[in-house]
Symmetry: D2
Subunit: 496 residues, 4 copies
């Protein structure tokens, strides 16, 4: 099960390097940070354990972190999302002055769950004296491993199975327990030692952030955290504009089905759902939204979409997409009632948005692989009820289809998200031991969002590349609005 | 200058009553509140001074407040925005059990500034022993009058002219000073007495809210305030969807100019600008956005709009619309450089978004009335620079064109805003003297927003009317998300 | 019943003149034709009887025709569509060298049917020796009157009522018979004499064109006709982009109802329906289309609209718009099944798209005027079936709502249509007695469309005004495409 | 250079068969024709030489033709467009009663030009006594080969190089001459013999149709032709909705570049350009259109796009797409003036829309393969003019990027086009020797379009699959419109 990209095919690495070079052009935020901080090396001394989809865009992030002085080890945060050529290129390095030596990467496309948690362990297990002192997380798996490790080391035992509380993390928690059982046997203070060194974590997603707030609320958070997800330039860009791009991309690569004229049911109308609906309508699809929040439901209606319960529209939908961040959104019995060859996919968060487990348990059902990440599930004929054999097409086995069936968000969007990550890493790493004016630690073991001025900075770094001319406030206008001419311009509760 | 709608033309009142009846159907939120609170009369004893555009929709609000037990006096908050038939109908009353007697209204279309501030004074000057005990405000003029009155009564003198600080309120501040000079001479404790009775104010707009936060920050706020503007169901609906409707409506009624194919420069890409841009694109206009905030500018670009400085696109624009909430956005020298017959209008806030004063001072300029609220300003030929005579078309003299040239936001949008207003009035009036768990006043002299669950309630009241089916969380889903199944569903910083 | 705008209120005329001046700026096609043909006076000697909505835009057309040398008499082609200020301004004249004397106009807002057919008679009844020698028609009523007059004069008798064949023209045909009975009594060769002088007719609409093709097919057409409706720059601009503008305009002025979030049923997806659907979606409406043509139905689906039968969606629709050019599209029994306060309007052609007659016959129904052209029809409660009293809102009594409730298409669109009309008038008037190469008359008593090069010319005249830069074909590119570099560029069957 | 898919990898064939099965669901028009004509076998005896992109969708077409009785040989009409798994599946056959044996296919991804024309020769060279008696063409290459073959056989000589007339066909014409030189040497009456047997050709594209009209005009067309391209259900669906889908798909698979916020220059606003612009705007791109036809240019402006000359916007564009059907649209000097890493692609017709030849001749230029069909062209630094080294990204070497970088149009769109093809094959094959009422051949050596009723039939076959409910005309409505209730519904010049 070991894997070493250090011996990776050099031609794969070369292909990845080309793509990285092209992506750099599309990631003006990260490149601007390299120019701004290349000399001052604010991440000198940082040892970052990164758990985030190992794509071409992440490669540009990794090389930005190292260009700012950091040491890095990397794993993907999803078993399907690695682009092998990007991983190979990072392992090999670019051969430039900036990236002479390459970076250890533990990630490949199509990992097993066991392999996945092994790679997550690897990025936290540094050779030599020192472990990592920073975590850069997406979904919170690295943070979870450390926290659970510390918890079990404290009691000296790993439980036999998930408890009532743990069960929510994910259905794969028993694999985590196996891993921790192994480390406890081998090195009973491993995670406690690692945790003590960590100055902070920066977290990318809604899901990971929710976990962090829960830990903080329970006073169990072991180090400060910056919630990158709720930067405007993350949540309103990655979640919305990224999905707008990568949802049809994933659908197309998976199925080549015309979206125009199709009835597409989008479950959820948060930022992800908004981007999904806009993309599908832009392709001529007829979008129907399901929602649980009356405000978002009213927004969907005002945007011209039908809003209905899933049950009402099961027989009309040609394509069903979950975007909720919730579980049990499309259940096996829903899928049994869909049209023949209805397409089902998830672009929200975990694969528990769709009840794959229930689907697999349907009596008589068969699963046929059309191509990797595209499976046809065949419901047997039900003669008692006069139903013919029919099928649904499941994308990426219910995991994120834009990563499993396509290449994830495009570079420009990720440049926004990753500029937030980079700035957050700098912020936590350089200020973790500072005190504020009242003598308190600047960053306690709580969850923070980036100050608005840094959020605006991230946006600012991306304007030139797409030809945006920004207007400047005059002095008297700034006074009239009671803001600085250089920002921040809005109150913290402003919604954009 | 006195005016009494009690003797208004009954046929005008009848026409208004028809429109009110139709509007009620489009205001399901207010009608639901009448059903919910009609029996319990939570506003019994409330004496509300209302300053808000006296339109058909406001008529439904007024009759909702009275149906919940309140006494009301009303003025418009804009000199052009009154619909006379609505005012007449309210003065006359509906003759039903709910509204037997009519409500005093001090408002008519096309007031002078002197008349305007006289009407604002009237709603605060109640006959008999008691003055008002609640303010319902839009733009903050009623609140301003009370605060300035108290301030000047404390020193026993009204200054000769606006001070450096006051100047920001508006260019019409000298009229306010005249009014207060009059009341000081007549009754030197008038405003102090009124202020002492007021339990709170609910405020509708961005501008008024900004004033309130400034007062609170300076510890000068005389009573609690609820910021209705920042309810999601207000700012994201009224500002965005309302403008989407009423901007093209105003343009069409004023000019009948085809929007399709035109270059339209929208200054500002906040909620109002977003609604404006969407409406104009939906009519085939080519929208160019100007912005000062890099985040909003990046949003505009991601939404497919060109983002440029006003100077860059002066010669291309056919129509220019300000939506900023700032001053000095389109200056006289800008207008001098526009195309012949360029159309200029404001849908943001005050008329100081457009430099009308500077325009009037342009040497040799002439102003021709095309029809009420539509004026052609004729720039003389400039032979030295080889420029021919050319004109611009100014809408509503720079004031809000959707109110001046059309009938403001449609009922359904206002039903959201006004349901917030009504709920906020109930909240402040019924809880103003309650203490919280720690013995402090529930509402201090600060600015509050409505709790999210009430915001969600407002949305919920509007779903049935447009056929929205809402999905309900299962118990286990709610636990997974760590929310109540009945809401609230989102964190306070969620942006929608 | 006589009416003479020569004594019209001069202030009305002045208001109209302002609007005409503004409209000229928006009608670059007509103004370019004045510049091109002002000197050569190609319509010198033309005596044009014009029957077309007497709006501000038509005023610019009339003055273009006179600027090119024509004498003109004008009536509206719809009883509701006249803008009185435009009519007054045309009657009074501009006082410039071009239009010193004014033009006889027989049109005012809100004519009765009897008045309407009287005005149509007037434009064909010229004082002095000569009658008209050209007809400019919209809907074909002037052409109908001449053809029916000639037909009845030939047999010396007007039938007592409409025959099986005539019934299709319109339900108002008995008024036409009355008029012709009068002229037959008074001057039994009136129409025969008039018809003999007429060199041709240019016709604006689908409906009028259909009548002309039927006459030509039956060899009954008395003079050549140019089908202006099927110029691309008419059918694809007026019908689509004009409606996109004027449909929401009419809805807004009539009802002020928010379109966002509403279910709008658009009957028909031809050019008018396409423009209607785009406009309503652009305002956040959810559009459902009904269609009889499978190709148009498939287009609607590909454009993302639900396509359903009217019966299926009666209970969902908030607004119903007919755009078909057919009759009996929305019947009384449909309206009986709609939601309370559903809005019903027609923007297709005649008022027979909606079954107003059947509606009026519904037992117990009441009609309440909300304001001019907006009526509420109250269906009585049906206790047997447990139905409460409910109402629908009918716009413009089923006639074209963009004309009845708003001001029709905007100037820029009409500039395209009217440039076609003007060029067609020149074409027929100057070539009616020419022979082609083989010695045949250039224009026989058939229906023609304008050659594509003239259609392209109309487009070309409108580009500069909206900043369009046109690319020119190189010589070798033109050869490659086998076209002239100056056009025409497409085959006759090209669909745009 | 020989190639035989009969020995193709069976697992490739199996993968293709899965995809064909899924595509069948998305091609309801073809499946309906199988049901309608499966028994009557109207193509029994037809020997069809097919030259059309060998994709999964074409596989469904091929198996529809064989299901209707035809024998078939197939080649692709583009060197890059073959999907090998589809070709393999067709060669192997499905093993069902319908397709027991497989069909000879001469096509693979990435052919050389020599290989390409060899495959085209193979589909016309049948084993045994009889050659093909029908051609199904896309782009006209099979038809070209036959016509040129006959022409040269008549004079007994193949010219040394392209003549002035031939040069227009394509820059690869010298390869054609080589092929024909070979066949002339081997069998000097080969093409004459083949042509004599051919009953007709059905042609798919604008380009091929233009060639056919030129041949017919010169009286050189050797057999009747049906212009499938100008069926509404082809030109308005494939060209517009197909491109709307496959353009962003191709861009995404090639580059993964975010379209949102980018300036995209679309050259041409015909049906292809309209679909392209809609797709890119739907993804948040800012589209600028270039046009030579004033009518299409005005349409683009009315649809809200900037219309400019290419030269004007060279420095602004991030992505440039040609859609014109013309040559020399983007020249080498244009590309030299673009932004660094500008993306250039063609989705119009031949690769001569973009001046690849000129690009390759640019002094000092280098071409770097990023991945197959994606090349970076590196312009050297120009120190004299102070220009840094910069690059452009060329997709599919200037050939159709939706085929080269993605999988072409999706199945549902192709079902429309291919239902037209199938119906046209039936029409020509079954009626080629019929006479009409006047004793003339039903189909002479001319170019025909399908009658409208068949065009409507194609649409009708696709409605059920996407849930469209069609309304039926009543008898009296049909009479009012003067059409049959069953169609056709529109005049031939109707533009949709």
């Amino acid at each position: 099960m070991t894997f070493d990209f250090k011996v990776a095919d050099l031609s794969l690495a070369e292909a990845g390097r080309h793509q990285i070079r092209l992506a750099e052009h599309e990631m003006p935020g990260l490149m601007a940070l390299r120019r701004e901080f290349g000399d001052s090396q604010p991440l000198k001394g940082a040892r970052i354990a990164g758990s985030l989809h190992m794509t071409v865009q992440t490669a540009v992030l990794i090389e930005t972190l190292t260009a700012l002085g950091a040491e890095v080890r990397w794993a993907s945060c999803n078993i399907f999302s690695t682009q092998d050529e990007a991983a190979a290129a990072i392992v090999v390095g670019s051969g430039t002055a900036d990236q002479p030596a390459g970076v250890p990467v533990f990630a490949w496309k199509n990992e097993t769950l066991e392999e996945y948690w092994w790679t997550t362990t690897q990025i936290l297990s540094w050779p030599g004296e020192h472990g990592p002192n920073m975590i850069l997380d997406d979904g919170g798996d690295a943070t979870l491993l450390v926290h659970k490790g510390v918890e079990f080391e404290a009691v000296g035992e790993v439980p036999a199975g998930p408890s009532e509380d743990d069960i929510d993390y994910s259905h794969e928690f028993s694999v985590v327990l196996d891993v921790l059982r192994g480390t406890l046997a081998e090195d009973p203070q491993k995670w406690t030692r690692i945790a003590a060194d960590i100055k902070g974590v920066t977290e990318e997603t809604t899901t990971g952030v929710m976990r962090l707030y829960q830990l903080a609320q329970q006073d169990k958070l072991l180090f400060p955290a910056i919630n990158v997800n709720d930067s405007v330039t993350k949540s309103k860009f990655d979640n919305k504009y990224g999905i707008r791009h990568s949802l049809p991309d994933g659908l197309n690569r998976a199925t080549d089905v015309l979206i125009g004229g199709k009835v597409v049911v989008v479950c959820g109308y948060g930022d992800v759902g908004k981007g999904a609906a806009e993309a599908l309508r832009g392709q001529g699809g007829r979008v129907i939204v399901t929602e649980i929040d009356p405000i978002c439901a009213l927004q969907a209606a005002m945007d011209g979409y039908q809003v209905a319960r899933l049950e009402t529209v099961l027989a009309q939908g040609d394509i069903f997409i979950t975007t909720t961040g919730n579980k049990d959104v499309i259940m096996a019995h829903h899928m049994a009632g869909m049209k023949h060859q209805a397409i089902v996919g998830n672009i929200g968060h975990f694969d528990n948005e769709i009840d794959i487990a229930g689907l697999a348990k349907t009596p008589g059902i068969r699963k046929v692989e059309i191509k990797p990440q595209v499976h046809e599930w065949v419901f047997p004929a039900d003669e008692a009820n006069g139903l013919a054999e029919h099928t649904i097409i499941m994308l990426s086995e219910g995991r994120l289809l834009n990563l499993g069936n396509a290449t994830g968000h495009p570079s420009f969007v990720m440049s926004n998200s990753f500029a937030n990550q980079t700035i957050a890493q700098i912020e936590l790493f350089t200020k973790w031991n500072q005190n504020d004016l009242e003598g308190n630690r600047e960053y306690a073991n709580q969850v923070y969002v980036l100050p608005k001025i840094l959020d605006e900075k991230v946006a600012r770094l991306h304007l030139d590349a797409i030809g945006v001319e920004l207007t400047e406030l005059t002095k008297s206008q700034a006074e009239y609005l009671d803001v600085e001419a250089s920002g921040p311009y809005k109150s913290d509760h402003y919604r954009y």
